[in-house]
């Protein structure tokens, strides 16, 4: 196998790709995400964002106080479209009126 150093394993973004982005003058996590595609896989940055942020600080490209994460969007945990489809329309029916008898405590 070829030796490669990955910063994002979900999308196969290597250290070399990151360096190309930095050479293009990009210094924020959001820009680097858009250029290299890191953090756009199944983990959505949970594994790679800290590594890229540390690299930016190590190279003194950004002050730690000025560093902001790239935009976080739902869903950050899996949910099926089938489950989402069961939600009532919030404008037509803000809270359905039938009380539910199960208390959250009976979870086995």
């Amino acid at each position: 196998m070829t030796d490669r150093t990955f910063v994002c394993r979900c999308e196969d973004v290597t250290f070399t790709d990151l360096e190309h982005g930095l050479a293009a003058g990009l210094t924020t996590l959001e820009e680097l995400k858009r250029y290299t595609g890191f953090g756009t896989g199944p983990c959505q940055g949970k594994e790679c964002m800290a590594a890229v942020a540390r690299e930016l600080i190590r190279r003194a490209l950004v002050e730690p106080e000025a560093l902001v994460p790239f935009t976080s969007r739902p869903p950050i945990e899996p949910v099926s479209l089938g489950a989402l489809a069961t939600a009532p329309d919030p404008f037509a029916d803000p809270l359905p009126s039938a009380p539910y008898m199960r208390s959250p405590g009976d979870d086995s």
């Binding site: 790709d17 976080s72 009380p99």
Partner: protein, 505 residues
């Protein structure tokens, strides 16, 4: 049975055995195993190929964060093997790889492009070459394979309006829940892990204090998003409560929870991000904390050679914890600083670590980088975040207050505000809960008890049908025969059908 050498052995041999099939191999697991621990125990570390360079990949974080342990379970794609308990007769197959895995011709991509594939410049022009390349690359990745013969999952909806919601049942969340329980404040605590994993996640020093799970715990419930109230754009609804969406997996039922709390406590803890070094993606490279918790959950011991990567007291503590969890006959767990690593060596599993000229053979490599706060939900609520050198932590004011979203007051406790350690996180959770109780006393909730709502007849998704797939399309056109429509089945709750006429007296 597999030909691989086992990497984990049970501490007690009398646990019930469970059998499952992974691709062509028969795997024998123990009852408390997750799919990921069962595969690692059997020495099967590769579960997929990477999207671009087609390199072998396997479980890394062992706690539901990373995306590399995704497998197909009984036809359902993209199941996280590290949070899926084993079941007798489970049919599991690797994803995104051609079978048999070791003879996959696409693995040549890795050697054909030694200097990497730069999609900004490689084969961008002329256009027709780019189109052919795109099509080729899309077929290579193998993502988006459709479900086949999926057992149908029932979907339910449950709305909650309640005084306090706690996200995360680690030390901080549990201590907060206990304080609220003592004060008689109605609340719900949710966590994405199941009970066995939550028990295993507790450090020994807190096991006595939290021997019982919280009374109002919803386990296996992952919070996927936090939203402003649906009418928050209108000025008169500016103080509507925020809406927190969560998905609970309860056997074959998936329940969508919609929480509207007056107070929300983030106690989501921290994650184990990766540490970059050459070939840091080999199967068998796992997060140290995830491995320790997996070993505690399954009551297993490491039987192969294990090396920990990291520096500082945190990594030393992880090494000591793993060393206690090794089989007496296994070699001692070693600690290596990340700066010393030249590269990792291996193929479908890690074989060795080359550090400054010496070669350390290892079967498992545990990464113990500094824990990074799980900031994603807080970022969705637009809270102030600060980089603390490891991750983005929530900036809190006095007593854990960190802001508001509409009429919902937001609080944060524990490691999500910066690494504290289990005992300090539990104290922080209790402190924040007491502040929440004081805030509730000052401005009481109009309705003191939690209320739950379920729609009378929640819309159900159309049934998934088994259909032959060729390439990335269906082999046949869907037939609209009503034979397998759910409406033919008798409803167990008469009167729920919206179009059904009322019986006349």
């Amino acid at each position: 049975m597999t030909r691989e050498r086992p990497l984990l052995v049970p501490a007690k041999p009398d646990l019930r055995r469970v059998h499952l099939r992974f691709d062509e191999a028969l795997i024998e697991a123990r009852e408390h195993d997750t799919l990921a621990t069962a595969l690692i125990a059997a020495g099967v570390l590769m579960t997929s190929r990477s999207p671009k360079y087609r390199r072998p990949r396997g479980p890394y974080c062992l706690s539901g964060d990373c995306g590399t342990c995704l497998v197909r379970v009984d036809g359902r794609p993209n199941v996280r093997s590290c949070v899926t308990p084993v079941r007798e007769g489970m049919r599991v197959s690797s994803q995104n790889s051609y079978k048999p895995r070791s003879l996959d011709p696409t693995q040549l991509v890795d050697s054909l492009f030694p200097r990497g594939i730069d999609h900004h410049h490689l084969m961008v022009r002329p256009r027709v070459v780019n189109q052919v390349m795109q099509e080729f690359a899309r077929n290579l990745t193998g993502y988006g394979e459709l479900p086949a013969g999926v057992a149908e999952r029932r979907c339910e909806y449950l709305g909650h309006e309640l005084p306090v919601l706690i996200i995360g049942a680690g030390p901080a969340g549990r201590a907060a829940a206990a304080a609220l329980e003592r004060a008689g404040v109605d609340h719900v605590i949710v966590d994405r892990h199941d009970h066995a994993q939550l028990r295993a996640n507790l450090e020994a020093e807190l096991a006595a204090e939290f021997s019982q799970p919280p009374a109002r715990l919803l386990s296996s419930t992952g919070v996927f998003g936090i939203y402003p109230g649906p009418r928050a754009a209108y000025p008169e609804h500016r103080d509507d409560r925020a809406l927190i969406g969560a998905s609970e997996l309860d056997g074959e039922t998936e329940r969508l929870h919609e929480f509207r709390p007056q107070h929300l406590i983030f106690a989501v803890g921290s994650r184990d991000p990766m540490v970059p070094f050459s070939n840091d993606d080999l199967p068998g490279i796992v997060a140290a904390r995830g491995l320790i918790r997996a070993l505690r959950r399954t009551d297993a011991r490491i039987s192969g050679r294990c090396v920990v990567v990291g520096s500082g007291p945190w990594a030393a503590a992880q090494r000591d914890a793993l060393d206690e969890l090794r089989d007496p006959e296994a070699p001692r767990v070693e600690l290596v600083a990340p700066e010393e690593i030249e590269r990792a060596v291996g193929g479908e599993r890690i074989e060795a670590l080359v550090c400054r000229g010496r070669r350390l053979s290892c079967a498992l490599l545990a990464i113990a980088g500094p824990p990074a706060a799980a900031h994603e939900l807080a970022a969705q609520a637009e809270l102030a975040l600060r980089f603390d050198g490891a991750g983005f932590v929530i900036v809190t004011q006095d007593h854990g207050r960190c802001g508001a979203l509409g009429g919902t007051q937001l609080w944060a406790a524990g490691d999500v505000c910066g690494w504290l350690g289990p005992a300090a996180a539990a104290r922080d959770g209790q402190r924040v809960a007491e502040a929440v109780i004081a805030a509730l006393d000052a401005a009481p909730e109009p309705v003191a008890d939690a209320r739950q709502f379920a729609a009378e007849a929640p819309p159900q998704p159309p049934p998934l049908r088994e259909r032959a797939v060729v390439g990335d399309t269906f082999a046949d056109e869907p037939s609209d025969q009503p034979s397998d429509q759910p409406s033919d089945q008798p409803s167990d709750e008469p009167g729920n059908e919206p179009g059904e006429p009322e019986p006349q007296p």
